[in-house]
């Protein structure tokens, strides 16, 4: 924790804190409404902590107790940690490290011997969890079948717009980045979009020239979006072929795909 940073860790107040918490969660995990948050946060089995700096909530974490099967019909109670997030302006100040310690102390005080959580291998948080003795158990595959590629493309841009609206760090990354991108996709032909006035816009007809032009497949694109393939590696293997684009623009394009806006 930074030397001059004064903070309070406390439980949230019903009817008062939902808006700010929803805002922080939206910035980290994608759009969350106050209603969605309320349906989860006030359940008796969920314990939530928030961190307040100068009277403003900047961080959130919750715990839910579950019993996990460890074999032979024996279930062991675990402290399931979730919703770990800090607003982008207050990151790298040790707030989450401190919140994490207090949460683990709370779990131990409740007489629970172990804890479990879900995260991403590529997220900075993964290293924090390792410092608290969390070990990787299992990554998980999922299966996807696309039936309507153009619709999925439009939905992806809509989702990006929602995310940018909620995320200050995304807004900062994309500030004045007014570019046009053409994607030549194996399964659905050419799709194009631009980022202008703080919004992603689908271009019904591909422009004659673009700032970034890449040829790839939907399958590769999804693998990059989900963190399975590294954008840099797909360029080396030719799975993503860059036809046009300078390196700074390609770095931003990568962030748009992975939706990881932090450095």
């Amino acid at each position: 924790m930074g030397k001059n940073l004064r903070y309070i860790v406390r439980e949230p107040r019903k009817g008062k804190d939902e808006a700010k918490i929803a805002q922080i969660l939206s910035e980290c995990f994608g759009p969350v409404t106050q209603r969605q948050l309320g349906q989860w946060m006030w359940k008796p089995e969920v314990k939530t902590f928030v961190c307040e700096v100068e009277g403003i909530i900047v961080s959130h974490i919750n715990v839910v107790f579950k019993e996990l099967h460890l074999g032979e019909n024996v279930y062991v109670k675990t402290g399931g940690i979730g919703g770990v997030c800090t607003c982008s302006e207050q990151r790298r100040r040790g707030i989450m490290t401190s919140m994490m310690q207090q949460t683990l102390d709370y779990i131990k005080k409740a007489g629970i011997s172990n804890s479990a959580l879900y995260t991403g291998l590529l997220l900075p948080a993964h290293r924090i969890y390792q410092r608290y003795s969390f070990g990787d158990v299992q990554t998980w595959p999922f299966y996807v079948k696309i039936l309507d590629f153009p619709y999925v493309f439009r939905a992806w841009l809509r989702e990006l717009n929602r995310m940018v609206k909620a995320s200050k760090i995304a807004q900062k990354t994309l500030h004045e980045w007014n570019r046009t991108i053409i994607l030549e996709l194996k399964e659905s032909g050419v799709q194009a979009f631009r980022f202008r006035h703080g919004r992603f816009q689908r271009l019904p007809r591909p422009p004659k020239s673009a700032d970034v032009a890449v040829a790839t497949s939907w399958e590769t694109l999804l693998r990059v979006m989900w963190g399975e393939l590294r954008f840099e590696d797909t360029r080396k293997t030719g799975e993503i072929s860059v036809k046009k684009g300078n390196e700074p623009d390609l770095r931003v394009f990568k962030r748009i795909l992975t939706r990881i806006w932090d450095e």
């Binding site: 099967h69 995260t119 993964h126 999922f142 696309i146």
Partner: protein
Amino acid sequence: MTLQIRLMQSKDAEPLLRLYEQFVLSFVGSAKRDLKQFQGITRKRDSLRWVALDEQERIIGYIWASYVKGRRTGRIHEIVTDPEYDFEAAARSLIDKVCRIFVEKGAAQIQAGTIQNPCYNRIFPQLGFWRMNPDGVFMYAILDVEKFLDEISPVIIQRLKRMRDWNGLLQITCENTNRLYRKEGRNVQVLPPADVDTDCCVTFIMDALVGVLLGATDLQKALSEGKIKIETSQTKKKTNELMNAIFPKKQFLVLDYW
């Protein structure tokens, strides 16, 4: 075998809970559920919750899916079948049914996720699904080794009891904390920690203990990397038999997110 498929009904909650409990026995990591949760699953009427019945009209499998209209996305949350039946056969009929409904509703994409039912690999790629391996990871930490060793004792005891050809004193150690198990025939006792000579002493680093219990670490690999150390006067064959019996390779499967 002919399977009958029908929509879930409120009266199915109890048999579905029993089915789930049977199903997760073959895995580790799955969360305990209660009747209330299944009452919640069966209560919703959205035509995306189906059960498979055998010839005696017994529920032998279920699928639970949902459709997000605004995103035109079909999501298959859970497929659970009776371990006595062929997962693929039962699951396939249920998936076919749900996928047809998704198409009728105008789905632009269908997603199916689980951590991690290996049978999915034999079904979904054949149906034209792409397998994605996102960077998401389930992490686990032991916070209180002393208590954790007590909690897993019933697992060790039951596995030791099943061993016919091994008798003696076993010590499990992790982070300088140990538990002693004395086995004589079918009788297994946990003894208070003591500095005594044992027939087999297994010392784990914390990660390795979690890894072998949750099916994330290969026992032999952990031994060769020195994450697990064994001191014993017994033959290598007997020691291997003991280790494989107490820490069998288990498949990790989580169906619940939080």
